[in-house]
Homo-oligomer: 474 residues x 3
Amino acid sequence: MGCIQSFRQCCDRPKNTNVRISLPAVCFVWQIAMIILFGIFIRYNEESDTHWIEHKTSNNISSNIENDFYFRYPSFQDVHVMIFVGFGFLMTFLKRYSFGAVGFNFLIAGFGLQWALLMQGWFHSLDPMDGKIKIGVESMINADFCVASCLIAYGAVLGKVSPVQLMVMTLFGVTLYAVEEYIILSLIHARDAGGSMVIHTFGAYYGLSISWMLYRPNLDQSKHRIGSVYHSDVFAMIGTLFLWMFWPSFNSAISDHGDGQHRAAINTYLSLAATVLTSIAISSLSQKTGKLDMVHIQNATLAGGVAVGTAAEFMLMPYGSLIVGFCCGIISTLGYIYITPFMEKYLKIHDTCGIHNLHAMPGVIGGIVGAITAAAASKDVYGTEGLANTFDFMGKWKDMMPTQQGGHQAAGLCVALCFGIGGGIIVGCILRLPIWGDAPDNSCFDDDIYWELPEDEENNPPTVEYNNHMRNKF
Amino acid sequence: MGCIQSFRQCCDRPKNTNVRISLPAVCFVWQIAMIILFGIFIRYNEESDTHWIEHKTSNNISSNIENDFYFRYPSFQDVHVMIFVGFGFLMTFLKRYSFGAVGFNFLIAGFGLQWALLMQGWFHSLDPMDGKIKIGVESMINADFCVASCLIAYGAVLGKVSPVQLMVMTLFGVTLYAVEEYIILSLIHARDAGGSMVIHTFGAYYGLSISWMLYRPNLDQSKHRIGSVYHSDVFAMIGTLFLWMFWPSFNSAISDHGDGQHRAAINTYLSLAATVLTSIAISSLSQKTGKLDMVHIQNATLAGGVAVGTAAEFMLMPYGSLIVGFCCGIISTLGYIYITPFMEKYLKIHDTCGIHNLHAMPGVIGGIVGAITAAAASKDVYGTEGLANTFDFMGKWKDMMPTQQGGHQAAGLCVALCFGIGGGIIVGCILRLPIWGDAPDNSCFDDDIYWELPEDEENNPPTVEYNNHMRNKF
Amino acid sequence: MGCIQSFRQCCDRPKNTNVRISLPAVCFVWQIAMIILFGIFIRYNEESDTHWIEHKTSNNISSNIENDFYFRYPSFQDVHVMIFVGFGFLMTFLKRYSFGAVGFNFLIAGFGLQWALLMQGWFHSLDPMDGKIKIGVESMINADFCVASCLIAYGAVLGKVSPVQLMVMTLFGVTLYAVEEYIILSLIHARDAGGSMVIHTFGAYYGLSISWMLYRPNLDQSKHRIGSVYHSDVFAMIGTLFLWMFWPSFNSAISDHGDGQHRAAINTYLSLAATVLTSIAISSLSQKTGKLDMVHIQNATLAGGVAVGTAAEFMLMPYGSLIVGFCCGIISTLGYIYITPFMEKYLKIHDTCGIHNLHAMPGVIGGIVGAITAAAASKDVYGTEGLANTFDFMGKWKDMMPTQQGGHQAAGLCVALCFGIGGGIIVGCILRLPIWGDAPDNSCFDDDIYWELPEDEENNPPTVEYNNHMRNKF
């Protein structure tokens, strides 16, 4: 810890927030690298290539509707909305950081999805015949999933980092994600349709660890900007609702054709409904006069979607989904009330959006629920074919038992935790270097640092005098 | 009437808006009840169960794409957006009630859909073999439909009731809906793909009757808050547009596979387009200088979707859809100009969102259009198979004639009206009890009663003094 | 030019913005005309007619899922969102013209799609057997596409024209569109899946030419209203993001079933991702301290979707898509910085939304990319069947070579340019007549002209006196 402290001090030089060289340089160089790597590695797969017409004949596929595009594209678009509008607008709640929320979300998702196609391609869909990565609609969904983990991490550091830091964070985040996903899904053979472990647990602990490494002891200089105004809370509800509504698509997007997708959507739909009621109940209980807190409605209502991710395609049963949602609404809301302040005060982890309550805890719960549900699976409930199908007990895994699978699920959760925390600490160290253009402690959560703001008196007082004047009032 | 008046006086005790016990209690107890009932009754149907793989083989289904999920899931997601973003944001137009609009909409939809799955399941999809309700994607759509009727009713009482009252209203609303739906669709054998009768007529009269029972003679104490500000009107347009755009999915979501869904989408698309033009025309005509009124654009433009609901899957013909939309745009806009003030002044029905113009009148028109279109159906136009298919003249109804069907449609409309008005009066009586925590007459339409508001000078001035003080600064 | 100048002077009479007669008249008369024409001409096609069940049998179609509805309806809904929410909200960025942006967008789209169904039907889908136009889901997509070109044109004149002028502009715009589309796609046999030429190039030059004809030398009287406020920029991001996210659906909506739609979606997804990075890079470079400009993020990030439109269904290759996006992000952002001010100052073309940078230049680039990609096509890459399939080398075009196709593509681009510029000049002349109710130069970009505005002090206080005055009223 002493070592970390001294490293911290070494990094605490005066801040220069001018990103005019670094941001364009990073964008251009990395984008050109993407073009070169895509030129070398990435091609269409057999379902998106013009040879599909021949592939159809040779594989006895009777109709174009059998193209995977028609199974997954509607879900892909829902996931896409979650990534860009859902995560983007969810973070607009801060009174003076809406541009940064939605704009930087846009930037890192735009870069992240390209890098994810490459990283995931190398691990999952490299064609051994020609050494190329073959992409289709499922690759796009997986790339969006991978980006989601980085956007979750962004939630922890919202308002406290520069766009260059976010790009670096995304570069490493996507890389780590692809490795841990490969280990969890392919090597350990855990199942994780909705990514409770792979996306949420990893992403949240990655972000929290970075936030811990970037801890700012003097952040209360920007305290007056950590809060919402009336309309920014309504904007944030756009994000909340699109995440909430499309979460069934998220959890079912890459599950098995047919009953797998169908069941994952139903389970998620039910779990989320239960979460709404318990979040609102705890929110009301927590205030003297029973008033509701928008922060809970915006965030805790989503916890059920996270927690049902791993088990969504299993036979969790409708009441099982409701129980998961019921518990997570309570835990997540209590997290906002008790754990977030505790973490900031005692653990030196400042978590702007409360991702610990929305993604970390529900993600871990989701992993555990998945392990238990898998271990409890039986041929009575699933049917012989159904069991093999749902858990993919085929090839080298064909003799696997459900109880074993439960163990593998638990192992997967541990891997996600390790990658999240370990990766976050390392990347956090890199991000402490005083070269990234992040804001000083008294200018956090302020769009004025990285954005040309319109000159409206309310949000952007035209003169410094006026501005200082106003400041004294708060 | 005298009896009602004295009941009213008996209920008019001083108000206590503290819902810290009642709201959490209702949420927890009802959610636990849902879990228990789901545990006893609800299971996956054969298309969302792991036994689908065996079901496929035994029913000669060649491909997973034949799973109902792929026919209906994109429509389900559109309907889902209408319920949560559409209805939620449509009601954000009030200057100080946006949190309540979108937040309570979220709460009652989250509860309502669970209760709807049970209620509708008992009436429609109870498996006689094992006494279980089997759910799939169509059940989720139907649950969302059922919730829609309660959200319509919420529009009439927006800003005047407590969240606990809304939960009670939803509990009874869903129950009544399931019964009237069973009578109309199963017993009477009326067709109602888009729910003009079942959803809109019922929901609107249910809400209006409740609003009549809850009439507040001194509501003008809150008059200054019944209005919009510039940005709240733009937020409301988000709701309007998502409702408008996805209405073709609403009306086609549960109609027949193939041509049924296709035709319902086309008819709705056309009807809504015509409504936009006539709403704007009447809105402009109604003002001295031809200026448009946002209230009309936000609401009346949707009337065509309501009115084409019942007949959407019939051979209404493209020009028929346009005529329906044309008329409803006129009637709905005139309703906002003349009928809403009339109802408030003379009938003692205060209708915050004008659901009488948007849902009640167009819903009744939709029922009538459906009856006429059904009665006019012929084998020439529909084809022999097409006629039987569209009107479901099968089983015990196989000898039914289109003219008879027209009569049944009309009977269905009457049932919806009776359930709406009768149910609303009874539930309204219950909601008058002085135990539900609703706001006093001078604090209606104010988020401050049920929400922790952010402290921004603009929207939340605690006192007039403070307000003037701030004003001097600008 | 002298002639044009004198025509201009002749038209510059004092303005009367009262549209109480003209707007309702136009709406009613045109809507009634639509009903009559629909009655004469428009019927359901075989996939949306009740005879589908017989059609299925006679064409050996095994399942309802083969109905075109299931191939295209999800894409249709995405396109629909782009038209109404995407274009509508993208234009809400002006501080006092959000109602006009989203409301008039709604009006002209509602009218335009009806007229487009007729115009496109006469040219493309008139059934020679009975002289009727047969419509289905593809017709709806095409109608939405046609409307898109008029909405693009609206972007150039936003805030400077009356709703009546917009209706006239849409009437002629749709007509011209249908003709140029017929020439380009049917006569010249160019391919244009995403409409780089047919939609974007035509629409943008149509709008720019109209804006040139309607040039207001004294527009700086309204200069203080050409700008955004903080929240209006966030509203505009809703438009940006829904356009950005759903653009893959736009470009793939009417391409070939199977690999065609699949590939178009992938190419667009990649191109747009690259555009985000280069737009942000140039935006940051262009400011002294590296701050980002919301105008660039809102608009230039979309250029990649425009430019990849024509070639989206070709074998552009993933890296090719990235290159297209890379270049367009740069060009479009530079356009906002240098070309828009230049055009206003020297060419007398005021372009409110910068459609020259977002649609015109990328559209032309898209046409050129399409021509090159087509000319470079080979059987090696596409396969024999794939080549014929992708470029529709069938019937009378069965002996066509890819190089020839490249020439046809280039010819198509020229046609789009000619129709856009020529049509725009003629329609612009008509719109200069002093009968349309447009605003005087000092009242442009002001919702107060055509809308009843809510009385909120914040957004509508011209002076402090007025403000105090208003306050006394409450």
